[in-house]
């Protein structure tokens, strides 16, 4: 017993000590590195954004951006497997159905309306720098295919890369409301949110809108993507209510994920995808910038795993794999806002804290009786906010208060939008399936089929 405990303490001490050593010994160098790394982003890169680049450079940049697009695409598979794995077998088909339709719907609506709502261009602002629209549909002339459009990519790559991001917001919501929301109601909500809200509020920063003008920094979307989805997830989880049997007699009954290997597959795919999510957000293949962003991203993810492992071991007594997996995602969401402007040691700290934060947040949500089966709110909203604010702490030359303004602005608008859309859907079609359907599972109820018909399940799940 005591030997065990000692081993335990000893192990922890070594971990802490090592981290400290590194932070101390490398602070100077790392700071330099950030400066070196971020220099090109703010100067060289922007210059090249003006100056035309060689055909070769344009082709490399575009190739890199296409690769990044693929990586973001595969995140949708990651979300699908994480969400279905963390829920019960009887709802797996339903969850997979939603996660399969989301990128399809996302790309089509983004082509129809989203792209031109998010990137209205300088001349198409309608309401100050608050709302713009460039017209329906996509299309370009020959210039869109050369570096005249952009030194980093063609018009088509631009559309596809941004389009792959778009659906992510809806996917986040999907995870929080699953196992009880009506299929059609969800599809209608997701379509509206992805087609209208995500691109609109995205234009504030990435489309060159008012928050961009203020100096708000959100490199790859801790706020623009993750907390935009997270706010709607929170509202959705509250409005649709907890799953039957989750909270009983003052206690919390765990409803276990039915397929943990699926969750692991998903988290690794998401980490992989994040290389494109963050790496692609440099918007060119500029070697120093992209590779630096990949390093901060990976270190934060790794530290997220470690942070969540220790937090879980401490608070839950046994190390919970699903928490470690959430911790990786937490680290990734956390570093997304500042991957380009924080040092490597800072990225470790951001990830470590995000990993611990996500464990505490998941436990707290259950205490607040907000039933979020996959921890979507904790991962995407809580750590999205944390990451955005962390830029104000460790980001070179960034202002905490501006970051806070951005966080609040997105919070207010997204909460209102989610309330309106979910409210509308509830009034028109209802939000929640019947108790019988919930008991027998949405796979039978909504789709008339099972995910694993050959296997005998524990029927009481």
């Amino acid at each position: 017993m005591s030997r065990y405990a000692m081993g335990n303490r000893w192990w922890r001490r070594v971990g802490m000590a090592s981290l400290l050593i590194w932070v101390v010994t490398t602070r100077g160098l790392a700071q330099e590195a950030v400066e070196a790394a971020s220099a090109p982003i703010t100067t060289v890169a922007l210059e090249t954004a003006q100056a035309p680049v060689s055909h070769e450079m344009f082709t490399v940049n575009n190739t890199w951006m296409m690769v990044a697009t693929f990586l973001v695409f595969i995140m949708h598979l990651g979300f699908a497997t994480v969400e279905s794995g963390l829920n019960r077998a009887k709802n797996a088909v339903n969850i997979l159905f939603k996660n399969t339709m989301i990128p399809a719907i996302g790309l089509l609506t983004y082509a129809l309306i989203g792209f031109n709502l998010m990137y209205p261009g300088n001349d198409n602002w309608i309401l100050g720098k608050f709302l713009g629209f460039g017209g329906f549909g996509i299309g370009t002339d020959a210039a869109g295919l050369t570096s005249a459009y952009n030194p980093g990519y063609t018009y088509w790559t631009d559309f596809l890369f941004q389009g792959m991001f778009a659906a992510t917001a809806a996917t986040v919501v999907s995870g929080a409301v699953c196992e009880r929301i009506k299929l059609k109601s969800f599809l209608v909500f997701a379509t509206l949110y992805v087609a209208l809200i995500y691109p609109w509020v995205g234009s504030w920063k990435w489309g060159g809108g008012w928050l961009d003008g203020m100096g708000f920094h959100d490199f790859a979307g801790s706020t623009l993507v993750h907390s935009v989805g997270g706010w709607a997830a929170l509202i959705g989880a509250i409005m649709v209510g907890p799953r039957m049997g989750k909270y009983t007699n003052g206690g919390v009954r765990p409803i276990m994920g039915h397929n943990i290997p699926l969750v692991v597959i998903g988290v690794f795919l998401l980490w992989l995808g994040w290389f494109g999510f963050n790496g692609g957000s440099v918007l060119s293949a500029e070697a120093g910038n992209v590779s630096f962003v990949l390093v901060t991203t990976s270190l934060a993810a790794s530290a997220g795993a470690v942070g969540a492992m220790f937090a879980s071991w401490l608070l839950q007594k046994k190390p919970d794999l699903t928490m470690v997996l959430n911790g990786i995602l937490a680290g990734l969401v956390g570093i997304t806002a500042g991957a380009d402007v924080v040092s490597a040691p800072a990225s470790v700290l951001i990830g470590l804290l995000a990993g611990a934060l996500v464990v505490v947040s998941v436990l707290t949500m259950d205490r607040l009786r907000v039933d979020d089966p996959v921890g979507a709110v904790s991962v995407h909203l809580v750590c999205g906010v944390w990451g955005t604010l962390a830029v104000g702490i460790w980001g070179r030359g960034k202002s905490f208060s501006t970051q806070l303004i951005g966080v609040v602005a997105y919070g207010v608008v997204c909460v209102i939008a989610a309330l309106i859309f979910f409210g509308l859907v509830r009034a028109l079609m209802g939000l929640r399936v019947s108790a019988e359907e919930e008991l027998s599972g949405l796979d039978i109820g909504e789709h008339g089929m099972e995910a694993y018909p050959d296997f005998q399940g524990f029927l009481t799940k």
Binding site: G245, L439, S440, I444, G448, M449, E450, P453, Q456, G457, F458, L459, T460
Partner: protein, 113 residues
């Protein structure tokens, strides 16, 4: 001694368990079965072909009890399992000649509890 075997709806297991515990019946053996009774199966459709699933998922509970526990046990099961809808299930009672506790070798009535 009697062996009481109940076939119930899977989702009623927690309720039946609670009712049994309330009736001071703490021991039972539970298994998954599929069954076919008055209740019609639901339809699964798969790639256009319709499957009538006429064997539905059910839960089977076996409880060995002494004579004076037969009534309370049956009543507890009914209390926990009844919804009034077709498919609520059945209870079967058979005679139990002998019961042994493997750990101690005790036999008969004392081994049951």
């Amino acid at each position: 001694m009697k062996m009481i075997t109940a076939i119930i709806q899977p989702e009623k297991l927690p309720d039946v368990k609670a009712a049994l515990f309330a009736a001071k019946v703490y021991k039972m053996t539970v298994s998954n079965v599929i069954g076919c009774g008055q209740q019609m199966g639901y339809h699964e459709t798969y790639r256009g072909a319709i499957a009538e699933v006429n064997l539905l998922k059910k839960v089977r509970i076996d409880i060995a009890v002494n004579e004076d526990f037969v009534r309370p046990t049956i009543e507890a099961i009914i209390r926990g399992a009844r919804t009034g809808k077709i498919g609520d299930g059945k209870i079967f009672v058979t005679d139990l000649l002998e019961c042994l506790r493997i750990r101690t070798g005790e036999a008969g009535s004392e081994a049951i509890g």
